[in-house]
């Protein structure tokens, strides 16, 4: 990636609910500096800048040395999950007001019809308005747009007081004229309201799915746009003149301009970065089958990677909603270090409520009085009282009294039993999600290596592994800032596609013409993203099917009709076990563009001289109190090994090696934990 002369540093910022992590890469030397700072939920950009400043200070560079800023954010996801996006309306073609209510008219295949409740739509029918117009299948105008109905809709939208409007008209993917006109008119009539059209989000057939994607996109647009604007302002104020790139749900990054237009692309932004990072760290150890558990302050993201391939899905969901955009296939649950433990009807519950960063766990001393998972660790001694290399001190007494007052005493338990109970419950929530990605999809978790990360991950690695009989755990070199590392490892990615007006047999001239067009779009995008000539890769993909089929196969464009059909038949046979004597047709053409980013150097640890504890501290194990050795991660070398129980300290996370586990240090810097039995 070219950048101003001398501006050879890349800074990556991942904002979680509790901490903001920063990784700063010198593209010349490959060296990485890391930093961590508490998040500021009321204004995430504040922690963003604090963190960038911290990292620059560590690296000893100035604002002018930064050539690119990478960012992973959960802002869009949280808005969708918590229903806290902007108040949104949908504008649709007259006669089709209930497009969201009806959906696909089904009770889901895996649901029980007796108990299933249709989820409330993200936009209720009361906020769906109709305009008079009609485009026919194929794109012809059947009924011109009646602009008076748009004016009337604008008046209703004002009465409803919405902050965002999604416009999705029938067959707009074939002819966007009316949809774009309505969008323009509403933008004029409703200053300050975010108006988005479906063709800008996902111009594909099927009105329900397209309307839904547009509505979700519109709902997060004001928030994401304000947020990006604030980041850009802060960067400018700090003198950083470098492009801002955001992580998308598909594991690649894209420029701020792209994201402002289609913020729904970032629905899984933060978590996707962690998965990319975990995959890379595992690969450095020669491990390709992993289950990742990213435990942050408020939530945990779980993903399964087989053969080193991150699974992408176009049928992903965010909360209850299908979102037909490419995204990493993962499961998210509301359980993390900040999850609050409380007694409900005499039973101990943990999460999904979280103390977040403010007030945070009781031990943070910011006024929190509710016991959290982190407090349970502090009470047991598995989490030492100093974090972030001493920059943050934990109040052990506050942790103990929170657990004692709110859990132990009401239940008549000892402090330690109460703390262990909190941990057992949060572990079992996570095991449930781990089962979903493994067992429920037919994978035996015992065949995988568990990769726990996020600030709280390495404290839970051994216990989670034991619950699923997973014999091996790998702790990444910098587990607490792995998402930031993942950002550094991600490439720029974009897709340019066009659905043919009429699906038909392979017509090489027509196809080449469209590919030329799409390739030009890709070049324009590369230019806009300032990707150097040698870092550009494009792939031409043809989506083909037998005439009449509902699904297409993605085939690398083979250049001729014979070759394309042969490649399709071979792929169909390989995937489904048969071919048909039926016409083969082309549906969609796609150009996939990848801009390669410089990769950080691979760490090669020096050989260790035998692990030596830097101290010991009392930990309440199930078998009683023990003086457990404490190791400094920075002092460990390749080949060093020791047995649990043990605690490994480092800046960004703390690892607990449980009794019965053995830890050895891999040359890549990762810790490999294996169970004795």
């Amino acid at each position: 990636m070219p950048s101003p002369e001398g501006a050879r540093h890349v800074v990556a910022v991942d904002i979680g609910g509790t901490f903001t992590d920063i990784a700063l890469l010198d593209t010349a030397s490959g060296h990485v500096w890391r930093a961590k700072t508490p998040s500021v939920p009321s204004d995430p950009s504040q922690a963003f800048m604090t963190g960038v400043g911290l990292a620059m200070e560590k690296a000893g560079i100035g604002a002018a040395d930064v050539g690119r800023v990478l960012h992973g954010t959960t802002i869009a996801t949280n808005m969708i999950l918590e229903g806290k996006g902007a108040s949104t309306a949908l504008v649709t073609t007259r006669g089709f007001r209930h497009v969201l209510t009806i959906g696909r008219q089904d009770i889901p295949r895996k649901a029980n019809l007796y108990s299933w409740v249709k989820p409330e739509r993200p936009v209720p029918a009361a906020r769906v308005l109709e305009v008079s117009e009609r485009i026919a299948a194929g794109g012809a105008v059947l009924e011109p747009l009646d602009e008076a109905t748009v004016v009337a809709a604008a008046a209703d939208l004002k009465r409803l007081g919405v902050q965002a409007v999604a416009v999705c008209l029938l067959h707009s993917f074939a002819n966007p004229e009316h949809e774009l006109r309505v969008t323009a008119m509403l933008r004029d009539a409703l200053p300050g309201v975010a108006v988005t059209s479906s063709v800008d989000v996902q111009p594909v057939v099927r009105e329900y799915e397209r309307s839904l994607a547009t509505v979700l996109n519109a709902g997060v647009m004001p928030g994401v746009s304000t947020y990006i604007g604030r980041l850009e302002t802060r960067l400018t104020e700090a003198g950083v003149d470098a492009p801002l790139l955001l992580m998308q749900s598909n594991g690649g990054v894209a420029g701020a301009k792209t994201i402002r237009r289609a913020p729904a692309l970032t629905a899984l932004s933060g978590p996707a970065a962690g998965v990319v990072g975990a995959r890379d760290v595992a690969a450095a150890c020669g491990i390709s089958d992993i289950i990742t558990v990213d435990i942050g302050g408020t939530s945990a993201d779980i993903c399964l990677i087989k053969d080193g391939q991150i699974g992408l899905t176009q049928r992903g969901q965010v909360g209850e909603w299908p979102l037909p955009l490419p995204m990493v296939d993962m499961v998210t649950i509301g359980a993390g270090g900040g999850s609050i433990a409380r007694i409900v009807d005499g039973a101990l519950n943990v999460g999904p409520m979280s103390a977040g960063a403010r007030p945070g766990p009781a031990c943070y001393g910011h006024g929190g009085t509710e016991p959290t998972v982190t407090d349970a660790h502090v009470a047991l001694g598995t989490l030492p009282d100093r974090l972030l290399g001493g920059a943050m001190t934990l109040d052990v007494e506050k942790a103990r009294s929170a657990v004692m007052d709110k859990v132990a005493r009401p239940l008549g338990l000892s402090l330690q039993d109460a703390a262990r109970g909190i941990l057992a419950i949060v572990d079992s929530h996570m095991v449930g999600a781990m089962r979903v990605v493994s067992v429920e999809r037919g994978h035996d978790p015992r065949d995988f290596t568990l990769v726990p990360f996020g600030g709280a991950g390495p404290l839970h690695g051994c216990s989670l592994a034991e619950l699923l009989s997973i014999p091996r755990v790998m702790i990444p070199p910098a587990p607490g800032v792995l998402c930031a590392d993942g950002l550094l490892a991600a490439d720029l990615r974009a897709e340019f596609s066009r659905t043919l007006p009429v699906a038909g047999a392979v017509d090489v001239a027509e196809i080449e013409a469209i590919y030329t067009d799409l390739a030009a779009q890709a070049v324009a995008w590369f230019d806009a993203e300032e990707v150097g000539a040698d870092a550009r890769t494009t792939t031409r993909v043809t989506m083909m099917r037998y005439k009449g089929q509902g699904g297409e196969l993605a085939i690398a464009w083979a250049g001729s009709r014979e070759a394309a059909e042969a490649a399709f038949s071979a792929a169909h046979e390989a995937l489904y076990g048969f071919t048909l004597e039926a016409p083969i047709e082309v549906v969609t053409l796609r150009v996939e563009a990848v801009g390669q980013m410089p990769q950080p150097e691979k760490i090669e640890l020096g050989k260790g001289s035998g692990a030596t504890p830097t101290g010991r501290r009392p930990v309440h194990l199930a078998t009683g109190v023990a003086e457990v050795p404490v190791y400094e991660r920075a002092e460990l070398g390749a080949g060093d090994a020791f047995a649990g129980p043990a605690i490994v300290m480092q800046l960004d996370a703390t690892t607990f090696v449980a009794p019965g586990w053995r830890c050895s240090v891999h040359a890549s810097g990762a810790l490999l934990l294996t169970h004795d039995a």
Binding site: G95, F96, R97, H98, V99, T101, I102, G103, R104, Q105, D106, I107, P108, R109, K110, A111, N112, L113, Y114, S115, W116, V117, K118, P124, A125, A126, A136, A137, G138, L142, R159, L170, H171, V205, R206, E207, Y208, R435, S438, V439, E440, R441, G442, D444, L468, S469, Y546, K547, G548, Q549, G550, G551, H572, Y576, G577, F578, L580, E581, A582
Partner: protein
């Protein structure tokens, strides 16, 4: 004839060494679900007819080594699928690489209940031992018969409903019986669809055989056998426990009705009873009896009900929303005896026509809900039966040539309200999806003018019944002959505990013009010409609880969303909505005059339906 009670109980596993531990059991359960999902994805992606790939009228299941369903789909209409095959091909004679096929309703004792549904079943072997069976089933668009689409309200015997495939060995140790395929496809008006769809099903079964085979290879045949036995036993136990809790010792009865058979008879009553008694040893005994149901009909609304169906429906209801539970033969096994009467609507004599049995099947499910509720249980109020329209005709294609088309379009309805939630608005059935407007218009000579909810069709109540849908088509075809199936018009879905019945369905051509005509709800031979406007409105679900108890804010949301009119809000719910807001004072006045209610409601409040 009285069919015997459901299949024998599963045999407990022999040796403790072969036990499947709880962790492995969960892995096996999850892996089977994954196999089902993979098979379903294959069908969805490779099938040719819209009925399968877009509407998704297909299901899968896994059976144990003896053919007992261990993991089904979440559909309460499956019976004993494998016995019909075993009757002709004893399971001991089966080999790896075999594939069996049928659609024979009478020959399978209602395992399939109309001939369009093709069933493929294959055994799975591991080291020479038969370990399991896997099944795919899908509705084929056309298999011959009286009219395109094969099912027609006009049919009066099953020979008019397309080709009948008795249990047949389609593949013998890898060798395909091509002649049967040729004969079958030659009988379809749309052989390309038939060929592609059957190939997709065969591909899915092959995949299932391979995947389950890998699973057995991983855990061993003994562990697999025990895993499937445990899944069955778990469901059976749970259902029996819930049956005992729900039905006090004694006999509980309920009567529901379909409007008629489209050939002059009706209403036709479905009369169910469930008797719970104690055996001398104190053991529970549950007997389901439908023998008092009305006689079979001339029209094709007969539902040849496999004896497994009542237990499957009760089982699925009792499993509830717990994702850890599995819908399987444990449901049917929980009932000790099923009594049906030959010659009745639910066990018609061969060769009575069956094609439109969907409406009766849906009413059977509502009647079983009623049985639970009559005993004091909390099953949903009644739903409408999903609606189907079949258009066949000719149109002029882009090249100016005449082409023919077949469009079978399923329309959603409202489902019944529950003691904890509103009924589901505008759905067809489990897993079955609509044809999106854009999809429909790209592929068929129709244009949609409206697709929305029918206001006031959801039965009023503390919990509102689901609303039906309106779908208005402009006919672009030169001409089409249309079949229509709407039930619950004269016998709308009942509400309960103060909730009212759901609205009825109806259909018009050219409504509001001098050429307006209303169509018979169950009819065929309706002629549509280019430019005609066909408007179909479907029925809603019954409500639950007194409408005056519905929070005004919910009534307001219903009014603003087009589910309830201002007038109905005032008259039935006692809520005054003025200028997009609730008039609190007027509402209090309206609700001070609370009308009396009874246990059930169908057009009027009654103590019991009969």
């Amino acid at each position: 004839m009285t069919p015997a009670s459901a299949a024998a109980l599963s045999v407990p596993p022999a040796a403790p060494a072969s036990r499947c531990d709880p962790v492995t059991l969960e892995i096996v359960r999850g892996a089977i679900r994954a196999v089902q999902a993979e098979m379903e994805a294959l069908i969805e992606r490779t099938a040719i007819s819209a009925f399968i790939r877009e509407k998704k009228d297909f299901y899968t299941a896994l059976f144990d080594a003896d053919g007992v369903m261990a993991v089904g789909s979440m559909v309460p209409v499956f019976g004993d699928m494998t016995s019909p095959v075993f009757a002709s091909f004893p399971k001991e004679t089966m080999h790896p690489g075999d594939l069996y096929w049928y659609n024979d309703c009478y020959g399978s004792r209602g395992a399939v209940s109309h001939s369009n549904d093709q069933v493929l079943i294959a055994p799975i072997f591991h080291e020479g031992r038969r370990c399991a069976f896997v099944m795919c089933w899908a509705h084929f668009a056309d298999i011959g018969g009286i009219r395109p689409g094969s099912i027609s309200p006009d049919a009066t015997d099953i020979y008019q409903e397309g080709i009948i495939i008795p249990p047949t060995k389609l593949i013998d140790r890898g060798a395909v019986n091509e002649a049967t395929l040729t004969i079958f496809h030659r009988n379809s008006r749309f052989p390309d669809q038939s060929r592609g769809d059957l190939r997709a099903l065969m591909g899915a079964v092959e995949l299932g055989v391979r995947r389950v085979g890998e699973l057995v290879g991983r855990f061993g045949a003994d562990v697999m056998e025990d895993a499937l036995a445990q899944l069955l036993e778990r469901t059976r136990k749970l259902v029996r426990t819930k049956l005992a809790e729900t039905f006090p010792v004694g006999t509980h009865s309920f009567t529901d009705a379909i409007d008629g058979d489209g050939h002059g008879s009706g209403p036709l009553k479905l009369r169910f009873s469930l008797t719970h008694d104690k055996a001398p040893g104190g053991e529970d005994r549950f007997v389901f009896d439908a023998t008092a149901t009305d006689d079979q009909s001339v029209g094709p609304v007969n539902f040849l009900m496999n004896p497994g169906v009542p237990g499957m429906a009760l089982g699925l209801y009792f499993l509830g929303g717990d994702p850890g539970q599995v819908c399987n033969a444990g449901g049917p096994q929980a009932l000790d005896e099923i009594r049906l009467r030959e010659g009745s609507l639910l066990w018609p004599k061969f060769p009575a026509s069956l094609g439109m049995r969907g409406l009766t099947m849906m009413r059977v499910l509502a009647g079983i809900n009623g049985l639970v509720n009559a005993a004091g249980g909390g099953a949903p109020a009644a739903h409408s039966a999903y609606v189907i329209t079949i258009m066949r005709g000719t149109y002029t294609n882009a090249k100016g040539e005449k082409d023919r088309f077949l469009l079978a379009d399923g329309l959603g309805v409202g489902y019944g309200a529950r003691p904890f939630a509103d009924g589901i608005d505008t759905v067809y059935f489990v897993a079955q999806e609509n044809y999106p407007v854009e999809f429909l218009e790209i592929g068929y000579p129709v244009r949609l003018l409206e697709y929305g909810v029918v206001t006031d069709s959801g039965g009023a109540g503390r919990w509102r019944g689901g609303c039906g849908v309106v779908r208005e088509y402009e006919i672009l075809a030169d001409e089409a002959l249309m079949a229509l199936r709407i039930d619950c018009v004269t016998n709308p879905p009942w509400g309960m505990a103060g909730g009212m019945s759901g609205g009825p369905g109806r259909a018009y051509v050219n409504k509001g013009t001098p050429n307006e005509r209303q169509l018979k709800p169950l009819s065929d031979g309706n002629v549509l010409k280019k430019g005609d406007i066909l408007r179909i409105e479907t029925g809603g679900g019954g409500g639950y609880g007194h409408p005056h108890d519905r929070p005004p804010a919910l009534v307001l949301a219903d009014v603003e969303g087009g589910f309830v009119t201002v007038e109905a809000a005032r008259r039935i719910y006692g809520v005054a909505v003025v200028d997009h807001a609730v008039d609190e004072a007027a509402t209090a006045r309206l609700r001070s005059d609370r009308y009396p209610v009874k246990a059930f409601h169908r057009n009027e409040y009654v103590d019991a339906l009969s």
